[in-house]
């Protein structure tokens, strides 16, 4: 880990967790690509709408602001970008977990909170394991390869799917936590590196 990501990573994670995906994405750009949205290896960029100059392929309205997907030429990757995106997504995923735990703690079924159901706990534990694994990968002293980061993205996407399910159909609404998770998966799509074959 270079010195910069050691600080930036946890910062983005915290911001994503406490303030949400959009402010964290703005923070990521401010730190590593302040002038324009950064286009990843496949030519796509996912950025806060304010940073874009029109021409969005799609616009996602999330709590805390709009995020746009832009298509262009792959840009030169700012150092630490790939790893910073994983930190950011980890924070989003942890926020989703907190939302899910809160929701399940309040939601009563058959006389007790859903959070006390063993099948619910099993799914929570599964998602948590994925998040802990990603945290462990990010904390390792040796540098992370593109394949390590792709693996971390997969783990986070799987954790998010499991967590969004636990919100029931409320996790399937635009503008809600399931939508944030879906846009987080688009971040992985834009910034994960294609496998070398």
């Amino acid at each position: 880990m270079t010195g910069r990501i050691r600080e930036l990573g946890p910062l983005l994670r915290g911001r994503a967790r406490q303030e949400g995906l959009v402010p964290a994405l703005a923070g990521l750009h401010a730190a590593l690509s302040p002038r324009a949205p950064h286009h990843g290896p496949t030519g796509f960029a996912v950025a806060p709408a304010e940073l874009a100059d029109g021409g969005a392929e799609r616009t996602e309205r999330l709590p805390g602001g709009e995020v746009v997907v832009l298509r262009g030429e792959p840009g030169a990757e700012p150092e630490d970008w790939g790893e910073a995106v994983v930190w950011l997504r980890l924070g989003c995923s942890e926020a989703l977990r907190e939302t899910a735990v809160g929701h399940l703690g309040e939601r009563v079924s058959g006389g007790s909170a859903l959070l006390h159901r063993q099948l619910v706990r099993a799914q929570l534990a599964d998602a948590l394991t994925g998040q802990l694994e990603v945290r462990a990968v990010l904390d390792r002293p040796e540098p992370r390869t593109a394949a390590d980061l792709a693996h971390a993205h997969d783990r986070l996407s799987a954790a998010d799917r499991g967590l969004a399910r636990l919100l029931g159909a409320s996790g399937y609404l635009l503008g809600g936590p399931g939508h944030v998770a879906d846009v987080s998966a688009l971040l992985a799509a834009a910034y994960a590196h294609p496998e070398e074959s």
């Binding site: 496949t42 079924s109 058959g110 029931g168 399937y172 879906d182 688009l186 994960a192």
Partner: protein
């Protein structure tokens, strides 16, 4: 019906489905776009699917026989084929679907005539309102109330949520409570617009054609003759009715999952040029999983057609096919690199649509509990175990 007839049915609906696919992305952007497509033969068929022959339903014959879509075994073929074309168009189509099955189970003669008769006049949407804001999987705990009114009718008060097509429906079924416990639940037939009834669409991540809605019920008047199953004993209308309805329909939801998984598989076959040997193996493996889920779904449909209370296979099918749809969409993406969802709008839509199956007609955990209950109560293969 013979296997050959089902093959012909499949073939026919595959042809009809081909007209749905071109509108998939349009409908994803605007769920009301379905209104421009009422003339498509598949949409016309769905508008009356399930209405029995005795009410004047006279569909075009398939291999010499009319298919009314009143049996689960027919519906699973139709739903798979149309979902493989586009699940959004399938669920956006007007028609009697869930409400129609319930009417078939518990309505009296007058109610049947009213309901089915209107289905045949012109395409209209129906809804089936069970889920409440605070009660989803725990439907037995529903709190919407049905109280006697001064005029001999009833007043309906409460809220429902995530109800498909409610914001544009003219006729629907609402489950409410007249007293405590499972025997206190009754379904009523509601015509809209009605005073005190409001339904707003809830924008969803996918399957936008379903137009899931939030309903408010503020002392909506219900004439006594619109209470469904009032000629039946309480044990045969409330909880019983919706459990049987779900048993009958769940194989159809599983079939939508099979169809969505097939759409993903077929997308890979059509667009992944020159797959490597390993990729071929993965594509074939997905095909076999789809075949397996289809076999289970067809078996589940036969079981509920024979006995509506035999729903454990339907739970197994929904569990398997619902999860497979999501996995297949994600697997399909893997063949096109990390940005697949951004580069292939149909795959992106499939990923978003497939997530909906987790919730429709009971989540993964609910099916797991149903299935385990079926096992311990001896329904699965006749060997009763102590619970």
């Amino acid at each position: 019906m013979t296997d050959r007839w089902y093959r012909e049915l499949r073939q026919r609906f595959r042809e009809l489905g081909a007209d749905l696919r071109p509108h998939a992305l349009e409908l994803d952007r605007d769920p009301e776009a379905i209104r421009a497509h009422f003339d498509l033969p598949a949409v016309r068929y769905l508008a009356a699917m399930g209405v029995p022959a005795e009410y004047g339903h006279d569909p075009e014959p398939i291999a010499g026989r009319p298919c009314h879509g009143a049996r689960a075994r027919e519906r699973v073929v139709i739903m798979e084929e149309l979902a493989a074309a586009d699940a959004g168009m399938l669920v956006a189509a007007p028609g009697p679907l869930l409400a129609g099955v319930l009417v078939g189970l518990v309505a009296d003669e007058r109610q049947r005539e009213l309901f089915y008769g209107r289905m045949l006049q012109r395409p209209l949407w129906t809804f089936f309102a069970l889920t409440e804001p605070d009660r989803g999987s725990d439907a037995a705990g529903l709190t919407t109330s049905l109280r006697p009114a001064d005029d001999g009718g009833y007043l309906l008060t409460g809220a429902k949520r995530y109800v498909g097509n409610a914001c544009r429906a003219q006729l629907g079924v609402v489950f409410a409570r007249t007293g405590p416990g499972p025997l206190g639940i009754v379904p009523v037939l509601l015509e809209t617009p009605a005073e005190g009834f409001t339904a707003e669409p809830l924008p969803s991540i996918g399957l936008r054609g379903a137009r899931i809605s939030a309903i408010e019920l503020d002392e909506v008047r219900v004439p006594a003759e619109n209470v469904l199953g009032r000629h039946l004993s309480p044990t045969r209308r409330g909880m019983w009715a919706f459990v049987q309805t779900f048993n009958l329909l769940r194989p159809g939801v599983a079939a939508i999952g099979v169809g969505m998984a097939r759409a993903a598989h077929e997308y890979v076959l059509a667009h992944r040029r020159a797959p490597s040997k390993d990729e071929r193996r993965r594509i074939d493996a997905l095909g076999r999983r789809i075949d397996g889920a289809r076999a289970l779904t067809e078996r589940a449909a036969e079981a509920v057609d024979a006995r509506t209370s035999d729903g454990h296979l339907a739970s197994a099918a929904k569990l398997r096919a619902g999860n497979l749809a999501e996995e297949a969409a994600l697997l399909a993406c893997e063949f096109f690199g990390p940005a697949a969802r951004l580069e292939h709008p149909l795959l992106d839509k499939l990923v978003r649509d497939a997530k909906s199956l987790e919730f429709i007609e009971g989540t993964t955990q609910v099916q797991q509990l149903n299935l385990a209950q079926g096992l311990v109560s001896g329904k699965v293969d006749g060997t009763r175990r102590s619970a």
